[in-house]
Amino acid sequence: MSGIPTHGPLQEAMADCLARHSGRRALVGAEAVTYTELRDRVQAVAGWLREVLPSSQQLSKHMAKPIARHIGFCLGNRPEYVVLYFATLFAGDLPLLLDANFNSGEIGAIQADCGLDALVIERTKVAGLAVEGKAEPVAFADDVVLLPLARQAEPPFRPRPATQACRFTSGTTGRPKCLEFSGEAVVSAARNWVLGTAMTSEDRTLCLAALSNGLAFNTSLLSTFVAGAELHFLKGAPLTRPVARRIAESGITRLVAFPTLYRNFVAPGGPEPATMASLRHAISAGAPLWPDVRDEFRSRYGLDISDYYGIAETGPCTFERDAGYHSGLGQPLPGVEIRIAPGPEDPAIGEVLVRTASMASGYLNHPGLFEERLDADGFYHSGDRGRLVDGRLHLVGRTQDHINVAGRKIDPTEIVAVVSALAGVDDAVAFPDEDLNREALVHLVVVASDGQVTKGAVAEACRSRLAPYKVPGRISFVAEIPRTGIGKPRIALLREQLGASAAS
């Protein structure tokens, strides 16, 4: 394909897809875009990016060595996201895919650690964004702008030369951790997903999970185009009625979504099975899927939800290829090896270790942290406990103390520190629990012997000092927190006591 410069494996792979599937439909939002049209748009937008932003040489003039322009994507799914992402790559820039819900503090931390030369963001969010060096936004689409950010001092960390995409994990202290991926790793993830899940050019994927999330990034963004398939987006909130309507109207074959949506599908009043007739694969990730939702979905829609297992640092890990197999998280995908580190009680159950062809290269802003979690053979310590049964991965719990809420990791000690600082609080502990809808939440248990501290005061302290997703969903008061001889809270016993008091 002439005209589009290529700078690495990712651009080469995409240029090949765009040329190979030229007449077919590639992207479908409010309108459909063919591979040929996508190629033309990507090319035009790459040129536009070169014009509207200072060049990397200009930006790097104070630096000993130039650094590529860093373009942050802080945007919900839409066709423009895909066009801009590939245009960024073809312009020779580095895309950093931020969670669209990151707040100014988190975006500012990324800017300070990694450097951000521009942000792709919704126009309505620009005014409320408090980051350094905001320039005049440049219109891209009706509701999307490119917001140039003046480059501050040289960023303290410089990406590896092979890095072609960055994604983020939440980090426990409000500083998102930036994962670097080489072009080879991104291309491998896409090709292995296509191979392992038998995606073909007849597939039409409706992607409802955020493209900045590993699930959508790896199962939809490049893999769809590798297969010559169609990538569909839905405008508006992912409610079951519009989702089902879209599936029926567009003949969607793959749905990429998250557990809450599937639960809403099987709740009373959910869409009729006939509307879902074209669907061949329903993929869930972000949080564990409830087994009864999987069972009800199968009995209502005749389709097994594949509870994909992936890790931000390694990419996709498993997929169930056998439609008749109903337990576990599936078999390792091509390019994925899974080992179980023998546990103390049962050697068959232990930490899940993963090595893939799509591994991250490291954390840009936490040098050495990723490498620490690799064993001598290059297997990544997932922090999950599990076992392999019949070649399928089954998880049994976590080995780490972090609380996972909607895919974001929360360090309970950060919450305890905020609450312990309140006058009248004698002791506190935070641990994972579930709300009435069985969604994960942080349960904070407080001891306040003088009786002056109220739930409202504790909640207010948390809301004013913690990011919204870290605010405990449940607060309980007890007379004493049971602890072991070395002072470790006995969470199982505490849960039992609280369960008993709630029931009484």
Partner: protein, 91 residues
């Protein structure tokens, strides 16, 4: 719609909000019907549940991307006003 209808609707909306948030909103906060739901614990998943609940309970189709102003979702009072207006239009 008289006051009794409006009160009954408010109770149903409060119940829906409570369920949508998975019980994470305290009773005293729920009783303040002008409180901003986003401030008292309704997160994005909670809103998704709430919108599903509103559609299924009241039979209204809510297309957020067709609407400029989303403030009808911000408080229980606003939700009741919105639903009452929808009912008025349908009648």
């Amino acid at each position: 719609m008289d006051d009794d209808d409006r009160l009954a609707m408010k109770k149903r909306v409060q119940r829906l909000v409570y369920l949508a948030a998975g019980g994470k909103i305290r009773e005293d906060e729920l009783a303040q019907s002008d409180a901003d739901l986003r401030q008292i614990g309704l997160d994005s998943l909670g809103y998704l549940n709430l919108l599903e609940g509103l559609e299924r309970t009241f039979g209204v189709a809510i297309d957020l991307d067709q609407m400029e102003d989303h403030s009808f979702l911000h408080t229980i009072d606003n939700l009741v006003r919105y639903l009452a207006a929808q009912r008025g239009e349908a009648a």
